[in-house]
């Protein structure tokens, strides 16, 4: 029942904050959001399950009962976590609290509504990562979009309306495509499944129970559904060339919303790819390894090149997310314990590091009111602590050893280099590795021009050290990045345990 309690407490907190007066809405939201943090850490400490939740492993904190019966398929309320979802739950709660604290300085209008929506989004995100019934999962998945749409559309920058609508339309159309693909699969399974529970469907698919549907034979149906679902999730990840909503959304979104968007929302896409496409249909995934790995490498290189061409600090970080998510896809398609496990670990690592980077850019913006690389230099002179954390975070992004980014990328490269799904995997891996060089290039270049050198600033604002409430979340994030880099096994053990069943057995 801890999962229901976690989601319910967060929903209630959202409700309370929504009607609270503006003066202390931010404080109240931060205090209330500490409850799910404690809950998720308790879950992590008590975690005792093993194996993959979808493939017959034991499920921690499981609840399962029939929600409603419709035709021959029951819809269940079915939640629980395994080694893949628990780290994401912990990431969601911690990052939400930090994002809420980082909003204290920049958000000054309609505060209670802002913090209420942040908590509402957190509650739905927790649902996405814990639901194990397709229907319950889909309800949460879609419900995340609604607060995000408002958070960008109401509190965003000058072009916020366009960015909010673009985000909403892109992700909704993607959801529809994915939904149709999945439902076609369920109909193709016919009587061999009696509910929408993901474990049941995953095991039936891997056991080859699929029959034809709507004029397609089983093989075609599986491929079509795989492609539909891949496209649906790829928009969320995002993967080039479906990434164009991301820079708009990030640039217009206020900093705390960018943190949630890059840190957690993008992981919904990769999490769903892992849970659905790569767990349920490994045979199709390995058959399509060349296009998928190709897309991954293109995302890595193209995203990094786009980042290189930007002047806006936030756009640089936004495009570099496209690049980092490319590594995740490459790790997933490798189908080795280090590849898939590393991809899952990279989701956590990138969540923390990109959150840190967006927050750092936000702290600088709070003081300078500009994010353009050319508008300032020598900021480190006036804001030494912020600049220091910024530099540390950037090195984390570049994959400096003993930081979480290094562990994630190293695992992925190790796994994909050794992959046997296709003889060209070492080549793809080698090509993707060049992405790191470009990342180092644009991050060092941007830092050199903005943070170092003689101080100069064109604006009318007084540049002073950032307030404690801005720096504290940055410091916490940096600490977490280093802890996970030094001791990746805090999560990597349970991740590997949950990933291994995907790589063996039927279908592959």
């Amino acid at each position: 029942m801890i999962i229901e309690a976690l989601i319910a407490v967060t929903f209630l907190a959202a409700l309370v904050v929504f009607v609270a007066p503006d003066e202390y809405a931010g404080r109240l939201a931060a205090a209330l959001s500490a409850l799910p943090v404690l809950g998720s850490l308790w879950m992590w400490a008590q975690y005792d399950a093993s194996g993959n939740a979808l493939l017959g492993g034991s499920i921690a904190f499981e609840t399962d009962f029939v929600w409603l019966t419709l035709g021959s398929l029951d819809l269940h309320w079915f939640v629980g976590v395994d080694g893949i979802s628990l780290p994401l739950v912990v990431l969601t709660t911690i990052l939400s609290t930090l994002a809420i604290i980082s909003a204290w300085t920049p958000i000054s209008e309609r505060q209670s509504q802002f913090y209420g929506l942040m908590l509402f989004m957190e509650a739905n995100l927790l649902g996405v990562f814990t639901a194990l019934d397709f229907f319950a999962w889909f309800v949460f998945w879609e419900a995340v979009l609604v607060p995000m749409y408002f958070l960008i559309g109401v509190w965003g920058g000058p072009n916020r309306r366009y960015a909010a609508i673009k985000f909403f339309v892109y992700t909704n159309v993607a959801s529809l495509v994915m939904f149709i693909g999945f439902i076609a699969l369920v109909f193709g399974l016919g009587d061999s499944v009696s509910s929408m529970r993901l474990p049941e469907i995953a095991q039936a698919l891997r056991a080859g129970e699929l029959a034809g549907f709507a004029g397609l034979n089983a093989g075609m149906l599986k491929t079509v559904a795989f492609v539909a679902m891949f496209l649906g999730f790829a928009v969320k990840v995002p993967v080039a060339p479906l990434h164009t909503w991301l820079p708009d959304a990030h640039v217009e979104a206020p900093t705390p919303v960018s943190v949630m968007l890059a840190g957690v929302l993008l992981k919904m896409g990769t999490y769903a790819l892992l849970r659905f496409n790569f767990t349920m249909m490994p045979d199709v995934a390995t058959a399509l390894v060349v296009p998928i790995a190709g897309i991954a490498v293109i995302s890595v290189i193209y995203g990094a090149l786009l980042a290189l061409a930007q002047q806006d600090l936030k756009r640089i970080v936004a495009y570099s997310s496209v690049s980092s998510m490319g590594y995740v896809i490459l790790g997933l398609v490798a189908y080795t314990t280090y590849g898939v496990g590393g991809a899952t670990f990279q989701m956590i690592a990138h969540g923390l590091i990109s959150g840190l980077m967006f927050m750092a850019v936000g702290v600088i913006y709070n003081t300078t009111h500009t994010r353009m690389v050319g508008d300032m230099s020598g900021i480190a002179d006036r804001m030494p602590v912020t600049a220091g954390i910024f530099v540390a975070g950037a090195f984390g992004y570049m994959g400096l050893p003993l930081m979480a980014g290094f562990a994630g990328e190293f695992f992925i490269f190790k796994g994909s280099f050794a992959s046997t799904v296709h003889s060209g995997m070492p080549l793809f891996t080698a090509a993707a590795m060049f992405g790191i060089v470009i990342v180092a290039g644009y991050l060092l270049f941007a830092m050199q021009r903005t943070l170092f050198g003689p101080f100069s600033f064109d604006g009318d604002y007084e540049i002073t050290t950032a307030p404690m409430q801005d720096v504290a979340p940055l410091a916490v994030l940096l600490l977490l990045v280093i802890v996970l880099g030094v001791a990746p096994d805090l999560f990597f053990g349970m991740i590997q345990d949950a990933v291994n069943p995907i790589l063996t057995g039927g279908g592959l």
């Binding site: 419709l70 035709g71 021959s72 949460f140 559309g153 609508i165 109909f187 709507a214």
Partner: protein, 506 residues
Amino acid sequence: MSVLLQTAEATTPMWSALAPAIVLALTGLVLLGIDTVWSDDPNNTVLAGTAAGGSLLAFGITAWFLVAGTGQPQTGGAISLYGESLVVDGMSLFFTLITTIVTAMVAVAAYDYLDGHEHRAEFYSMVLFAATGMATMATANSLATAFVSLELASLPSYALVAYLRKNRGSVEAGLKYLLIGSVSSAVFVFGISLIYAASGSLIFADVASALGSGVSEMTGVVGLGVLMIVGGMAFKTASVPFHFWAPEAYEGAPAPISAFLSSASKAAGFALAFRVFVEAFPLGAIPAGVDWVLAFQVLAVVTMTLGNFAAATQENVKRMLAYSSIGHAGYALIGLAALTAGGPNGDVLGASMAHLLVYGFMNTGAFLFIALVEHWGVGRTFEDYNGLASAAPVAAVAMTVFMFSLAGLPPFGGFLSKYALFYSAIESGFWWLAAVGAVNSALSLFYYSRVVKAMWIEEPSGTFEIQSRPVGLYAAVLFAGLGTLLLLPAFGPVIETAQTVAAALF
């Protein structure tokens, strides 16, 4: 408890099964009585309280009957009354449930909306009489009672649409509604006469057995009659081809009446349509050339597509909702369009009924929000709604819930009811019908989200002068919003009841 119920059933006369309709009619009469004995203009609170109380009482009785199993197989099957011209069964109770709860919400909302208007007693009593007609439509078991109850529901509606008699829009809307209503009534009654000529009966079951025993030389007459009855149904449900009164009537009418017509009246039209086509023209019995399922497939696709595309081009929120209401009639028509001889018909029809119940909450709520906005004197276009959320956040949250639910977005009741509808269509083998519905539903998000965007994201063009927080309107809107939300987790019993009572028809 069950012993008590059984003894109650054993001792109460058969006609007491019609209690919901009787309560509605009596409440209407009581309202007229109050108006007569009250020295001058009767107190609005008394009138609204009586109307809402009466419809809630009818709702309670209906819910009690439904739970107790009145007219359902477990208590001896459908209760047939007055020489089989009326029948009380699970389906009639289910639709009465929709009518009564919508009537209650409209009565509560009208309390504020009618502030300062004349002839309020007549307003409430006509709403109650129309509701009586709608409840009777759900129980009609012969073409004669079908026609009479349809007229009982329609005649007060014409007057109600034109209630704002000093407002040209309202009067024009009433006139158009009356004209098109008369034409379609004439078409409907002519269709009835043709069916009577071919089958020699007006009772649904007798019509079915007469058609089943062979009318080969009269097939053309039957076909024409069925087509004309389809026309009559299309008028009441605001479906193509008799839909074009709806945008005018809904836009011109007082907003609570728009809510009443687009939710309760539409549901009653579907109740009648479902029973007529399933009972009087069953798929196994009709002559081969009379393929009404095909007609409804065409109508469903055309209605939902036309409603959606027309809604997308509107600048006026109320008119957009009117077209969206046409689109939803198209979805509900799937209940008839996806029927097959021997298929899972109860599931399809039940899903359509469940959608109409959820629709009763979200659509009524949306129109009552319009009523609230009209009460404040804010304009009717999307632009007038700009920034409304900052002036009235709680009501704007409710409206957001209605819009997303109408669009079929997941965290709300409309998502599950649409899903159940499309799912059961696929189960019956009509996956293309479900696909058209799903695509339309996705497109509809465009115009629904415009309202949300205007309220929350756009900057207000002026300042709102909102002093009042009308209790009745707020209560009705929030009740509808709560219903829309709670119908997501509580959809299980609704869909199970609907599919059980629908299956009893086949």
